[in-house]
Amino acid sequence: MSIDREIMMDMYFYMQRIRRFEETAEELYKRGVVVGLLHLYIGEEAVATGACLALQKDDYITSTHRGHGHLIAKGGDLKKLLAELCGKATGYCQGKGGSMHAADLSLGILGANGIVGGGFGIATGAALSAKKRQSGQIVACFFGDGAANQGILMESLNLAAIWKLPLIYMCENNTFGEYSRFDEATVSDKPIGERAAAFGLPSSKIDGNDVIAVYECVQQAAARARAGKGPTFIEACTYRFRGHHMGDVGTARGYRTKEEMDERWHHEPVGSFRKLLLEKNILEEPDLTIIDQQIEKDIQEAVDFVNSSPAADASKIAEDIYA
C-alpha cells in the first residue's frame, strides 16, 4: 500500500463521519425532527469517501437523492446539512431543498438531486464549463445502478466522449434500485461500464466497499481528465443496508432477505477499514479513538445547532424563485 498515512486517516475520518451522520439523521427522523424524504447512505461510505479524497477542493461533484455521503466527503458542513434535513432556516437551502437538494457551491457541490439520473446533464455542463474556462477543474458525477438505466446517460456519454470532457462517471451499484434488485432491473452479466466502453471510455468495475480501491481508481480517472484525455466510467459495487427511504423498513418489500443483509454486513466498509488499519499497524486504537471523539463532538454540535436554529421563515417563501 503506497497511500500516505494521512490519507488513510482521512479515509477513516470521512467514512465514520458519514456513518455517524446517517445514524444520527435516522434517529432524528424517528423522533420527527428530520422531516421529508430521507435516503440513507449507510454501507456505501467507501464510494463517496474514496472518490472525493481523490478530487481537488474546487472540483465539482453532482450527487443523488442518496447524497449526504457525497456532500460530507467533499467537505460539507454537518451543521448546515442536518439543519437542512430538519427544515431549519439555517440549513444549506434554508429548508427549501431538504435532503434531496443540499448543495454547497463554495465546495463545488452542485447539489443532490431528486430525479434519478438528474445529475448527468449538470455534470456534463459543468465539465464543459471547466474545459471552456480552462480552470483545470474536473467533475465527478455520482449516480446509482438505477440511474444507469435512464436514457440521458447515453446522451451524456456520447457528448462527453466526442468533446473529451473532464468527467468521471461514478456509478454506485448498491444492488438495489428502489425496491428492485439490480440483477432483475439491469443487464447484470456484463459490467454497466461496458455501456461506456462502447463510447470509447475506459471503464472499470471495482469493489465499492474498498475505499482504497475506489481512491486509486478515481485518482487515475482524475489524472486522465485533467490531462485533457476525457471521461472515465467507474462502477463501484456496494450494498445498501437501509431501505430505499425511511418508509422502507427491513425486508417487508420482499426484495431481499435478512440472511443476505447479515452476510453482507460482514463486508461493510467502515468496520472493515478500521480492522484493516489496526491489523496493518497503520493506526493504533488510540488514534482511531481520537478521530471517533472528534466526529462525536461534531455530530453533537450539529444536533445542538439544529436545536437552537429557527424554523424556515415563512416570510421568505417567495424569495429566490428568481435570481
Binding site: 448527468f120 446533464g121 459543468a126 424563485i321 428568481y322
Partner: protein
C-alpha cells in the same frame, strides 16, 4: 433619435447573438446544426465562422443532454444560449428545463444561478404536421422559476434576446417560425428591452386585443379591419408570459371595457385562459362584455395546409369575435 434600418426578425435575432457573443466571453451557442450549417432556419448563419467552434457548438441530436449541459454550464460560470430546434422537441428536454433549470436557484436557497437561454421555434403554417408546428409556451409559463419570452417584431426580438442572455435566470425564448421574415425598424447600436414589460402596439378606445407572437400580426390586421367599421382597437403585446405585465393589460381593459385574448397555443388550459382569468379577477367591474379567447384549435395540427390553416387563429375570427362584443349588427356579417 438613433439611426434606424429595416431588419427581419431573423436578422435581429442573429444580431443580438452576434453582439452578445462579442461582448461577453461567457456566452456561447450550442445546438443541433447551429454552427457550420447555420441553424435549420439560418438564424445562426455565419456565427461559427466568426467566433469559432468553441463558441458556436454543433451538438448531436440529443435534446435532453443539450439542455442539461446548458444547465450545468450555466451553474458554473457560463452563459449558454442553447437552441432546441422546434419547441415540439422540448418534450425531450423537459426534466432538464422543468425540474433542474427552473428550480435550482430556489431549491438551493439561492446559492445557484442558472443564466441559461433556450431558443426554440414554435408556430404552425409550414405544413410540418403535428410534431413540428406546436406553440407550447404556456407549458413553460406554468413553471415558477422560468421566464418565457415571445417576441413579435424585429425590435422586440433583438432587445428581448439581449436581456434574456444577460438575465441570471433560465429564459425560454420562443421564435415564431412563420415570422422570421417579418420586417421592422431596428435602431443601430446597443439597446435592451426589460423582460416583463408589455408593449402597446396600437392605441385604441373600444376594445383591447391582447395578442402574443405570431398573433400580433393577426391582431394588427384585425384592428385595421375593425377601424373600417369605426371600432377602435388597442393592441397589447405582453412580450413575456412570465413575468407577465399585468398592469399594462389591466389598464387598457379598464379603459376600453372589452377584451379579446389571442394566442396560437391550444385554446384549452393555455395562455388565453390565464390572461382572461386575470382580467376577470382584477377588472371585472370595468367590463362591458365577457372576455373572449381565441386560440389554436384543440387538435393535433394536421399536415395539409387545407386543414392546418383551419387550426390557426386568423383576423376574420378576431373581427367577428370583437363585433360580437358590441351587440350591434354589421352589414357584412
Amino acid at each position: 433619435m438613433p439611426e434606424m434600418r429595416e431588419l427581419t426578425i431573423l436578422e435581429a435575432i442573429k444580431e443580438a447573438l452576434d453582439e452578445e457573443l462579442a461582448r461577453d466571453p461567457a456566452v456561447f451557442l450550442m445546438g443541433e446544426d447551429v454552427g457550420r450549417a447555420g441553424g435549420v432556419f439560418m438564424v445562426t448563419e455565419g456565427l461559427q465562422q466568426k467566433y469559432g467552434k468553441d463558441r458556436v457548438m454543433d451538438t448531436p441530436i440529443s435534446e435532453a443532454i443539450i439542455a442539461g449541459t446548458g444547465v450545468g454550464a450555466a451553474m458554473t460560470g457560463m452563459r449558454p444560449v442553447v437552441e432546441i430546434m422546434f419547441c415540439d422537441f422540448m418534450t425531450l428536454a423537459m426534466d432538464q428545463v422543468v425540474n433542474q433549470a427552473a428550480k435550482m436557484h430556489y431549491m438551493t436557497g439561492g446559492q445557484v444561478k442558472v443564466p441559461l437561454v433556450i431558443r426554440t421555434a414554435g408556430g404552425a403554417g409550414r405544413a410540418a404536421a403535428a410534431q413540428h408546428s406546436q406553440s407550447l409556451h404556456a407549458w413553460f409559463a406554468h413553471i415558477p422559476g422560468l421566464k418565457v419570452v415571445l417576441p413579435s417584431t424585429p425590435y422586440d426580438a433583438k432587445g428581448l434576446l439581449k436581456s434574456a442572455i444577460r438575465d441570471d435566470n433560465p429564459v425560454i425564448y420562443f421564435e415564431d417560425k412563420m415570422s422570421y421574415k417579418v420586417k421592422g425598424p431596428v435602431p443601430v447600436g446597443e439597446y435592451t428591452i426589460p423582460l416583463g414589460v408589455a408593449d402597446i402596439k396600437r392605441n385604441g378606445t373600444d376594445v383591447t386585443l391582447i395578442a402574443t407572437s405570431s398573433m400580433v400580426q393577426v391582431a394588427e390586421k384585425a384592428a385595421d379591419l375593425l377601424g373600417e367599421d369605426k371600432i377602435s382597437a388597442e393592441l397589447i403585446d405582453p412580450r413575456c408570459l412570465r413575468p407577465l405585465d399585468k398592469g399594462t393589460i389591466l389598464d387598457s381593459v379598464k379603459k376600453t371595457g372589452r377584451a379579446v385574448v389571442i394566442d396560437e397555443g391550444y385554446l384549452s388550459y393555455g395562455t388565453t385562459a390565464e390572461i382572461a382569468a386575470l382580467i376577470s379577477d382584477e377588472a371585472f367591474d370595468y367590463l362591458d362584455a365577457p372576455v373572449k379567447r381565441i386560440g389554436g384549435m384543440d387538435v393535433p395540427i394536421p399536415m395539409t395546409p387545407v386543414l392546418e390553416t383551419v387550426t390557426i387563429p386568423n383576423e376574420v375570427q378576431v373581427v367577428q369575435t370583437v363585433k360580437g362584443l358590441f351587440g350591434r349588427r354589421y352589414p357584412n356579417e
